[in-house]
Symmetry: C2
Subunit: 368 residues, 2 copies
């Protein structure tokens, strides 16, 4: 039976397989803390990238303050695996979801969540009231700082805070504002400038709420593309980078090479019966996402990857190059790391080609 | 605990959830057999769409001859669940994969696979020889009929057949030629014309091999976009449509509405704090793929969906429309069905809003 184990060499892995170079990953973690810890902000990494409680614990061991998840179903997995200092960064809305939040909160009272409407806040409050739980749940007001995806407009933050204060089961502890539209702006100068403008909105809203008597302890924001800027803005207390740990080609094009590609998809040349300067590998849309462009072959300048359906891709090259033999292995760098990880069930983490650890992608597919 | 069950109403489902309208799905199956059975070809549906042995068995009950899968790891799951008349439509290459094929074949001797190189054929032969299994494995020559993804050129088919004949452990039973580049050609006339040109290559190659004494029983091809044309070409014995069962917007744009959308992703409006005529739903890149364009809201003319990251999407509209309340449910039609199904763990199959069956997406993530 095919059953890869620590100690095996990468060459024994079937493909496509998701592999992580531990030396590079550990260096990425070290560099993140080197960059951000001197600023004094808390680092609450977004776990929607790794989808792994094992990796969450490695980050906490390195100095992270818990973690973020996007969805309630991710929080359920993380908490059950002992990672229970969790901020859920998406609004929890609707009669099918709010009771799940209440159940989770009953067992894991450190859970934090966000709200961006009076109606949403009231629904959570009503469910908590009905549950008989006496401790209030910690909530943050989600503020729209320019992404226009979720979050209240700045002028609506105070009325929402006042509404929350009247409810008995929500404790307002902070403000979240995610500038997701800036993460991939390729010019560093422009990214920093626009980020600082977004941070002014966030920080000013926190100040306004404090002046109105609210105890705003947490002002949380930022991703891999902006955390270093956010962390130096007065009033920001916490940043949420995620992708830095593995990186992807889209982030590298924006952020540069301070962090390195630690994750690749190992694939195999399975057909070369076509024309010259083209072979077909076994990784397509089901192994590498295309929403942020196509993946790139690692360390193969001049070689271009083109997805050819769910299970195939072309490698083509216009330069003089030694041909790929049938069965050749190629490492592919994802263009967008989070949804690519979501396609795979396991990480094979290696050091210099020898597998050290195998991690399940425990929150893969947890979209609820 | 959140635990949906048959008998529950769709309104009780958390979101995003993948739902199937059984009345429509059953009608799609009925219509496929109505269209193709009179031609006398075998129908071997491609199971890379549904990824479910339960659905494979429903298709077999309707008249299908086994099924196709793309990858060996899919075949492993199908066989273990009792669906063992399986053609693996992708080349199996490399020392990590060939032994897995041999193991599977030992238990399930009906397995068929494809080859497109002498080297690939020899490697499978050598592994079978070493295994001590005496029955030869059934193989088809994979022919390039214009997709240029895998498959030998027509002139290389005979030398490959002659090579296979010299090996002791491979039994050549047929030829496969998949015209994947034509499935989504939007003009029916052009699609039919180009398909018939591809089929001439396939059929002529089969004839040539027969004239050279090879016992070519199977000539297999076709997808949802072309099966009806392929099935009427003399010499074609088998077609492989998959997507017809659920459909998607890309296939509808090409093939029309003979088959209807039976699968949607149920989602919820979770934020409406932005501008007028825009709300945010809880389905993004992790629930709906974008490789073939963006998903569409079902039965909502004038409403446009735009993905906004892994977990969010916008609905926007330029027309006069009743606003969506917070918590409103929206059904989204995928743009590309196979990779979208691959994002989800379960199908919730309903009739008129009441869940009848829950099917695991058993071969989700099986890319090896």
């Amino acid at each position: 039976m095919y059953d890869p184990k620590p100690g095996d060499r990468l060459s024994s892995l079937d493909t496509p397989s998701m592999i992580v170079d531990l030396d590079i990953m550990e260096e990425n973690i070290r560099k993140l803390f080197l960059l951000l810890q001197p600023t004094g902000v808390s680092i609450r990494p977004h776990l929607k990238t790794t989808k792994s409680p094992i990796l969450a614990k490695k980050l906490i061991a390195a100095g992270a303050k818990g973690g973020c998840v996007a969805k309630l179903s991710e929080a359920e997995v993380m908490c059950a695996e002992g990672v229970d200092d969790i901020l859920i960064t998406c609004e929890i809305v609707g009669p099918a979801k709010v009771p799940r939040l209440v159940e989770l909160f009953r067992k894991y009272p450190k859970i934090q969540t966000v709200v961006d409407s009076k109606e949403g806040a009231s629904a959570i409050d009503a469910a908590l009231k009905a549950s008989g739980i006496e401790t209030p749940i910690q909530v943050l007001i989600d503020l729209d700082v320019g992404l226009h995806r979720t979050g209240v407009a700045p002028e609506a933050a105070l009325p929402l805070a006042q509404h929350i204060a009247k409810l008995g089961h929500l404790k307002l502890i902070g403000v979240q504002g995610y500038e997701g539209h800036l993460q991939h702006v390729h010019s560093r100068e422009q990214r920093e400038k626009e980020c600082r403008a977004s941070m002014v909105i966030l920080s000013a809203t926190a100040t306004l709420l404090r002046e109105e008597g609210f105890d705003i302890q947490v002002v949380t924001t930022g991703g891999t593309g902006t955390a270093e800027f956010c962390a130096t803005v007065p009033g920001i207390t916490e940043v949420q980078p995620g992708s830095f740990i593995f990186m992807d080609s889209d982030y590298r094009n924006a952020v540069g090479t301070y962090f390195s590609h630690s994750l690749t998809i190992l694939s195999t040349v399975i057909s070369k019966s076509g024309t010259e300067r083209r072979v077909t590998i076994d990784a397509g849309l089901k192994s590498l996402t295309t929403d942020s462009g196509n993946a790139e072959p690692k360390d193969m300048p001049g070689v271009v990857y083109t997805p050819m359906g769910d299970e195939h891709g072309w490698l083509t090259w216009g330069v003089e190059l030694e041909d790929f033999p049938l069965g050749a292995r190629v490492e592919m760098i994802p263009s967008h790391i989070d949804p690519t990880v979501n396609l795979h069930d396991f990480y094979y983490a290696h050091r210099k080609g020898v597998i050290e650890e195998i991690w399940p992608v425990a929150t893969r597919g947890k979209v609820q």
